[in-house]
């Protein structure tokens, strides 16, 4: 294995661990201790997608995410401390406590934001891509959504327009088999979701979303095509939601064994770890060192965020409009 590849794999590994540990902290500490409000949608099990995709992007490429966006944000380089702070409603949050788990945003990282209104983030992504194109820039816009979103009218309108106007958007569908409780068989008229954009002439490509290398390679090709030819790409990642839809979900709708047996075996972090160990990219002590380091980083971010200040109540009245109104 070339050093470059080794480095890349270790980057993947670190980034996936960061997401995993972040989400485990949300699940195991924030949730039972009631340190956040509303609901939080965990990315556990889907880490390979955000990490593989983001490594195929440039730093100045844009990301428009969903309600399940912690992983997308972390992969794009949003600070875990700012994210924990936000999820716990503190002024040090990336949105100063106005947004919470479902509205993380960091303009400086070009993590444009989460938009939890299903389907509605695709027109926004297409519009951003229009601006990019109009500016003559070669940035691309990565638009994540769940398989539930392809049934929303807004997705359809955006996909048609992006294809028609040849806009540099990556439509990235994470098919984790469920939209809350509704299995994909009960939401989509066809099951080969890579064909859900044939109506717009978009040849979708189906990718194993548990294999970070597969994700990365597919994303690299798609990003290159989108960037060079200024046109949309459409990728569908097969994945699985390891946890409930959100942190309060009792998961009455899916058989317990399903989660345990078939899918646990496809844990993307374990798969990568195993692959790296098997082909001697790393040894076990190295993986342990990585795990320890990232876990410490996450622990520290959380501990610091937990002590961060709350916004004053009347701060609620800020940011409704810009101050400068006429240029």
């Amino acid at each position: 294995m070339e050093t470059k590849d080794r480095e890349l794999l270790l980057h993947f590994y670190e980034d996936m661990l960061r997401i995993r540990f972040f989400e485990e902290k949300v699940r195991d500490v924030l949730l039972p201790q009631r340190l956040f409000r509303g609901s939080s949608h965990l990315y556990i099990g889907q880490e390979a997608i955000a990490v593989g995709v983001t490594h195929a992007l440039r730093d100045d490429d844009y990301v428009i995410s969903t309600h399940r966006g912690h992983g997308h944000a972390l992969a794009k380089g949003v600070d875990p401390y700012a994210m924990f702070s936000e999820i716990m409603g503190r002024t040090t949050g990336c949105c100063q406590g106005y947004g919470g788990s479902m509205h993380l945003a960091d303009a400086s990282r070009r993590f444009v934001g989460e938009d939890p209104v299903i389907g509605s983030n695709s027109p926004i992504a297409a519009g951003l891509a229009l601006a990019v194109k109009q500016r003559g820039s070669d940035q691309v816009v990565a638009n994540y959504f769940g398989e539930g979103a392809v049934n929303a009218g807004a997705f359809h309108e955006a996909a048609n327009l992006a294809a028609l106007w040849q806009l540099p958007v990556l439509f990235l569908c994470e098919n984790n088999l469920y939209a809350i409780s509704v299995p994909v068989e009960q939401s989509s008229a066809i099951q080969d979701l890579e064909n859900r954009a044939c109506s717009y002439g978009l040849a979708g490509r189906r990718v194993n979303g548990q294999d970070v290398m597969a994700v990365y390679n597919a994303a690299r090709e798609a990003v290159a095509a989108t960037r060079q030819q200024s046109r949309p790409s459409y990728l569908v990642f097969d994945t699985y939601r390891f946890e409930g839809h959100h942190t309060a979900d009792k998961e009455t709708y899916r058989p317990a064994e399903e989660a345990v047996e078939e899918f646990r075996a496809r844990d993307p972090v374990h798969l990568l770890e195993k692959a790296m160990i098997d082909d001697h990219t790393v040894d076990i002590p190295t993986t342990i060192a990585y795990r320890d380091r990232v876990r410490e980083e996450i622990d520290a971010a959380f501990d610091r965020a937990r002590e961060a200040p709350w916004p004053a109540p009347e701060q609620a009245l800020r940011f409704v409009y810009t101050e400068s109104e006429v240029r």
């Binding site: 956040f36 409000r37 947004g99 049934n151 939401s187 409704v320």
Partner: protein, 329 residues
């Protein structure tokens, strides 16, 4: 009205009871929406219905709000009595064309050829940290649209009786629940009870001030009334229950007695339904009013996520008490 056996039910259970009773009574009643089948709805209102009535009458849909509402309308034209659930009232925005441009007007545009027996249920409101896109109170949008009825129950008994009336109504009804009020409990008659749309209910009698409120905020006003009663201030709390049609007569009757009006709602004050009530009462009860009516509602900002800010924005019992006390001082 109070005689007969009563059961203590949550809002959720009361709504579930209404759906179940109406589905048993009339097989043209169907329920459709996201996650309403096995899952029983994200707030549990449809729990057990799919088991009892089967997947044809209790239909899980994809995330397609335009189609949920549009198909409900079509199904109503085709002889069913659909009850559609839109998971959050914010997403009524997606369904607005079907509800407002088509359902509300189809009968009218056809010169009275059709009836549209259709209910769209949706939870509104904040208070639990669901932030700007999952917390709005948009009743004012729908009260403004001729052809729609708008129901906003505040207690389980009303929730059950009004939902039954809404399902039996031959007109499109927007039925707005409150997502942080589902566990609120109250007495519900074991027997059948239909509460007609368009009839307000005086939830507490009093003499000093008429307070009009609805949905979850009505119950906060009742708490405020209790607190103020201890200070010797007597509030009359009127629950319109349906905002469209609005039972102005009951409100005016109360104002005639108290000489004062306060309207309290969770929605943004500016452009909220409180303005309509104030304008109508000022028109009708000018001579009775001893001072300008008071409106309490959310300030002009979206619902923020963080707790201190959200509690500042959504009128709390203490705020209501303070504002009413100051108003009467």
């Amino acid at each position: 009205m109070e005689k007969g056996r009563m059961r203590n039910l949550t809002m959720t259970a009361a709504l579930n009871t209404a759906l179940r009773e109406e589905m048993r009574r009339d097989e043209t009643v169907i329920v459709m929406g996201e996650d309403i089948g096995v899952y029983g709805g994200v707030y549990g209102v449809t729990i057990g219905l799919q088991r009892e009535f089967g997947p044809d009458r209790v239909r899980d849909t994809p995330i397609s709000e335009m189609a949920i509402a549009g198909m409900a309308l079509g199904a109503a034209l085709g002889g069913l009595r659909p009850v559609a659930e839109i998971m959050y009232c914010d997403f009524l925005a997606h369904a607005a064309d079907a509800i407002v441009n088509n359902a509300a007007k189809w009968r009218y545009m056809s010169g009275g050829q059709y009836a549209l027996p259709l209910v769209v249920r949706s939870p509104a409101g904040g208070g639990g940290g669901t932030a700007a896109q999952h917390s709005q109170s948009l009743e004012a949008w729908f009260t403004h649209i001729p052809g729609l009825k708008v129901v906003m129950p505040s207690v389980p008994r009303d929730a059950r009786g009004l939902l039954k009336a809404a399902i039996r109504d031959d007109n499109p009804v927007v039925f707005i629940e409150h997502k942080h009020h589902y566990t609120y409990k109250g007495e519900v008659p074991a027997e059948e009870e239909i509460i007609p749309l368009g009839v307000a209910d005086v939830k507490r009698a009093g003499t000093d001030l008429t307070v009009v409120s609805w949905s979850r905020h009505l119950t906060l006003c009742l708490e405020a009334a209790e607190i103020l009663a201890a200070e010797g201030i007597s509030l009359e709390v009127v629950d319109p229950r349906t905002l469209q049609p609005l039972d102005l007569a009951t409100i005016c009757q109360s104002v005639a007695k108290t000489g004062r009006l306060a309207v309290v709602h969770e929605a943004v004050l500016f452009g909220g339904f409180g303005g309509e009530i104030v304008a109508q009462v000022v028109q009708e009860c000018w001579g009775d009013l001893k001072q300008p009516p008071l409106r309490i509602g959310a300030p002009f900002c979206p619902i923020p996520y963080s707790e201190p800010m959200e509690s500042f924005v959504i009128p709390q019992v203490t705020t209501i008490v303070d504002r009413l006390r100051a108003y009467l001082a």
